[in-house]
Structure formats: structure tokens, C-alpha cells
Amino acid sequence: MIVTPSGLAETLLWGVANGCIYILLATGLNLIFGVMKLVNFAHGQLLMVGAFIAYETTTITGLNPYMSILVAMGSVALIGIGLEKFAFRKVRGTEKLNEIFISLGLIYVFQNLATLLWVKNYNIRIPSPLEGLSLSLGGVSINYDRILAMVIVLIILIGLVFLTRKTKIGLAMRATSQKSDASMLMGINVGKVYFITFAVGAALAGAAGALYGILFQFNPAIGALPTIKAFAIIIIGGLGSIPGAVIGGLLYGIAENTAAYLLGGIWQDAIAFALLIAVLVIRPTGLFGEKGE
């Protein structure tokens, strides 16, 4: 393969666009981990469900796929609330591995329920009105869907920063993430904070799923790998840090796409995880992580 400057620039740009979806997923995961100290391996399953909900909404009602993102966010938030209430809350305060175990059980449940419901729609994409249109600038081209995806991710992230920095519930979330016992003594309803945190995190996964469905083909099994990538990203960026997740997501997307461009698709996961290990060996708390206790 011939490596050209414009080819490389295009790879970087596409890496950033792919990174955007990971950023959305990773931010939700990071929020849940930061506030609740919960490691949810089923987070990517929420992305998968979000993609199918957006697909069904678009095909059944004929809604614009970019509007169906809102539907996906709302429905996945509801599913998230159910998970928090009926599964994760039950094992809170026991062994930390029990929560991971529940999330592994949920992977079985979600993936196979989705297979039962949607196996007839294998490897589909949400039809976008911008299909096939792309912007070219000096040999570098990118399709409008990816540009719009980047804009949407930016808007959602600004909204999230507003929520955590400027609202009362955001203050309660930040307090709970620092010391849940002390927050409880200060009169914060920690149960309610957990509930809202999980709903917000799930909504972000739903949005990520809808965008994933617009950009890529999907099927009931797509949830597993993005979860792992999202974990890698929040670890690269540093646990509990939103800017960290953004930088981590961009780095990850770029590393993955560049590896695929230079070495071939099979290497993209290996190189991206090599980046993760390199970052951790140099800085054990991630790029933007707070110092451990």
C-alpha cells in the first residue's frame, strides 16, 4: 500500500470521527464508574439496543434518523433505570466482583434477546438521508454523516458538562463520586443520585448506539467490543475525568484507524491495546487521572 500525506490525513480524520462514538460510550461508562464505582461490562449492550431502537423508530415511523437518536436515548435510559433498580442495586455493598458478574450475566440476556427479536435484520444500517454525500477538501474526503456525528457528540458532551457543573443534581453527583458516605450525611439522597447517574450513562450509550447504527452495519453481537474499547479509553484518559475520556477516545480512534491503514485491519485492536498498555506503564493513573489514595 502507498502511504500518502492526504491518505494519512484522511485516516486521522476518520479516526477522530470513529473516536466520537467511543467517546460517547466511554463518557457514560466513566460517569457510572466515577459516581457509583460500578464496572458495567454490559454497557456496550445498551449501545446495541440503542442502535436497534433507532432503526425500528426510523423504519416504522419514518422519522429522520437523527431525530430517532432522542428516542433511543430515552428508551435506553429507561432500560438503564430498570437494570439499576432490579439488578445492580441488589448487590451494592457486597463483593465488587459481584457487580461485574451481574454485568456478564446481562450480556448473555441482552445479546440473546436481541438475537431472538432481530436476527432477521442481520448486518443492517439505519438509512440516512445524507447517504453517499461527502465533503472533499484537497484530496481529503469525509462523508456528511460522520461530520454530523461529530457535531452531535460535541453538543451532547457540552450538555453533560453543563449537567455536572452547573446543576444541583450535578453537584450531588460530584459529591457522591468523592465520598458517598459523607454525601449521605450532608443530606444527599445517594440512592437517587445513583439512579439518575445510571439513567444518564445509559442515555449516552443509547445515543452512541443510534450514531453507530447510522455509520456502521450492526447486529446483536456488536456490543462486546465497544465496551472493552470504552474501558480502554477511560483508562487511557484517567478514571472519572470527562476531558480525559475525550482525549482518550480521540487517541484511541486515531491509533486504531492509523494501524488499520498502515498495517491492515487485523492489527487495529492489537495496536490500540498496545497504546493502552504503554500509557499505563508510563503513567499508572492514565493521562488525566487523579492520584490514587
Partner: protein, 339 residues
């Protein structure tokens, strides 16, 4: 003295368990059940115990499949391509796995639990890529056949049992020794452990080496039991398996991973038999050709979730409760008899 009697009691239970497992093939004549179910239970009991030891020292691994795979590939390559006796290949596979475990452990000895888990996971992904790219040595995506330490289903079963009994016994001794006490201290509070003079870095590395050695050994046994080695052994499924087995059985106990392995392997082997009873439900899901597998996997997922919600300390805790209840009953009966 109490400790002595407690220890000897545990030893008797362990010997009784081994004896029961040893006579099983006399009653179960099916080669499939002995070779593909019982043997697998024993091998995964070793694998889950090795993972459990690492968790005992407060280090979570989500990439243990890497060490299972290294042990499997190394022992198979040594036996088939270098012509070494399979038992030597098995041991060298374990040692190689421990050596690589040492390198990974060195790289992440400063990391907190979940960071370490991600590094091990990342390593297993990297291993898949390297193995599947180096076709001439590792057989690419297809893999290659292996030779077992002994021919025949039943002899291999006994060989596996002997190796597993020694391995699990060794892991148990480590957990019960001063070393195990240090692991426990690190798990409970690393900072405090450091304060009372435990060299936490050294002990965490030791836990890593011992755990990865036995994981490699289990990998060698696994590929010999299925007579084939393939890159699929590195898949996340095999990394999550020991976690599921240890948690469902009971974390940080000796019997937990063993019970977990028996349960999960039984479910994997016998649950597919229920597929035909699930067929009447197929009109509910149009377009699905075979509703059996997805439906039963949904059931498995719900089962796992319910077990952990109602028995957060695993199935072992239920057995302990039953045992205590029974003992209380007999001691009460004795008292009543006296008065």
C-alpha cells in the same frame, strides 16, 4: 489443636472428593461424558482455582485466557513439533506462561485492580493478533492437532485428575501459608499491608507467577483433552470463564472454583439437551430458525444474575449453611440425649 483438627478434617474431605471423582468412570460408561464433561470439569477447576488465587491477592485478571492459550500452544508445539514427551511439554508450557506472567506483572505492579484487569485483557487481544498472523508456526486461524500425555479417554482422565489434585492442593497450601496471609493483607488494604512491612510489589508478582503457571498448565491439559489447539483459546469467553466459575462457586475459597467449574461445565454440556422442549415457543419469534440456543442462553444469564443476588458469597455459602444447620441439629440431639 482446634486448627489441627480443622486441617485434618479439610484433608479428609479433599481425599474423599478425589476418591469419588476417581471411581466415577467405573459407573459412568459413556466415553463422551467422561472425556468431554468430567475431564473438562477437572481442567477448568484448575484454571478457575488459578484465577481465584490471583483474585485472592486483590488482583483481577480479565485476560487469563492469554495464559491458558500460551500454555496450550507452548505444550502442543513442544510435543508435536519438537518431539518432547507431552508431560515435559505440559510443564514447560506452564513455566513459559509463568515467565510471560512475570513480565506482564512487572509492567503493571504499580497499577490498581481494574487497570491491571484491562492490561491483561489487552494482552490477550494482542496475543490473538500475533498468533493468527504467524501462520507457519501457530497454524493461523485453523490451528493444529496435539498429542495427549496418555492415549485413551479414561487413562487421560486419571492423568488429568492426578495433575489437578496436585495443582489444586498446591494452590490451597499457598492460600493457607504465610504467603497467602500476605496476599490477603494486600487484598484487604494495600497501604496498610505496606505499613506493616509487607513488600507488596514482590508478593503481588509472586501471586501473578503462581497463578499464571497453573493457568498455563490448565491450558496444556485443555488442548490435550480436545486433541486440538486453535487461536480461539484466547477469546474473551475463556477470560471471563474463571471469573464466572469462581464467583458462582464462592470467591477466595478452595472449593468455590471447583464447584463453579462443575456447575458451569454441566450447564454447557447438558443444557443443549433441553433445546427440543423449547421448540414449541418458536412461533413467538418469527424469523428465528432455532429458538433453542438463544432462549436457553437468556435463561443462563438470568440464572447467573439471580444466584449472585440471592447468594452473594456463592453456592459454597449455601453448602456451609446447610452443614452448620446439620451440625447444630446433631449437637442439639446429643444434648437432649444427655439431659
Amino acid at each position: 489443636m482446634m486448627i489441627d483438627s480443622f486441617r485434618s478434617r479439610k484433608l479428609y474431605y479433599a481425599l474423599a472428593a478425589v476418591a469419588v471423582v476417581a471411581v466415577l468412570p467405573l459407573f459412568v460408561r459413556s466415553e463422551y461424558v467422561v472425556g468431554s464433561v468430567f475431564t473438562l470439569m477437572i481442567i477448568f477447576a484448575v484454571y478457575a482455582s488459578s484465577w481465584n488465587l490471583l483474585a485472592y491477592s486483590g488482583q483481577g485478571s480479565l485476560g487469563h485466557a492469554a495464559f491458558l492459550g500460551i500454555g496450550g500452544f507452548a505444550s502442543a508445539l513442544l510435543a508435536t513439533k519438537m518431539g518432547l514427551p507431552p508431560i515435559i511439554g505440559l510443564l514447560l508450557g506452564g513455566l513459559l506462561s509463568a515467565g510471560i506472567g512475570l513480565l506482564i506483572g512487572l509492567a503493571c505492579v504499580r497499577l490498581k485492580a481494574w487497570f491491571l484487569a484491562m492490561v491483561t485483557f489487552g494482552f490477550s487481544v494482542i496475543a490473538v493478533t500475533i498468533i493468527s498472523q504467524l501462520d507457519p508456526i501457530f497454524g493461523g486461524m485453523i490451528g493444529f492437532p496435539t498429542t495427549p500425555i496418555v492415549q485413551g479417554v479414561v487413562p487421560f482422565y486419571y492423568a488429568t485428575l492426578a495433575i489437578a489434585a496436585i495443582s489444586i492442593g498446591a494452590i490451597f497450601l499457598v492460600m493457607r501459608s504465610k504467603l497467602g496471609l500476605a496476599f490477603k493483607a494486600i487484598r484487604e488494604n494495600e497501604l496498610e499491608a505496606k505499613m506493616i512491612g509487607i513488600n507488596t510489589g514482590k508478593y503481588r508478582l509472586l501471586a501473578f507467577i503462581i497463578s499464571t503457571f497453573f493457568a498455563g498448565l490448565a491450558g496444556g491439559l485443555y488442548v490435550e483433552s480436545i486433541l486440538f489447539v486453535q487461536v480461539a483459546i484466547f477469546e474473551p469467553y475463556f477470560s471471563f470463564l474463571p471469573l464466572i466459575m469462581a464467583v458462582i462457586g464462592g470467591l477466595s475459597t478452595m472449593e468455590g472454583p471447583i464447584i463453579g467449574s462443575v456447575i458451569i461445565v454441566s450447564i454447557d454440556s447438558f443444557l443443549p439437551l433441553t433445546d427440543k422442549y423449547l421448540q414449541p415457543l418458536s412461533p413467538l419469534f418469527p424469523g428465528v430458525s432455532n429458538v433453542g440456543p438463544p432462549l436457553r442462553l437468556v435463561g443462563l444469564g438470568l440464572f447467573l444474575i439471580l444466584v449472585v443476588i440471592f447468594l452473594p458469597k456463592g453456592i459454597t455459602s449455601l453448602l456451609h449453611k446447610a452443614y452448620d444447620y446439620f451440625r447444630e441439629d446433631t449437637s442439639k440431639a446429643k444434648k437432649n440425649g444427655k439431659t
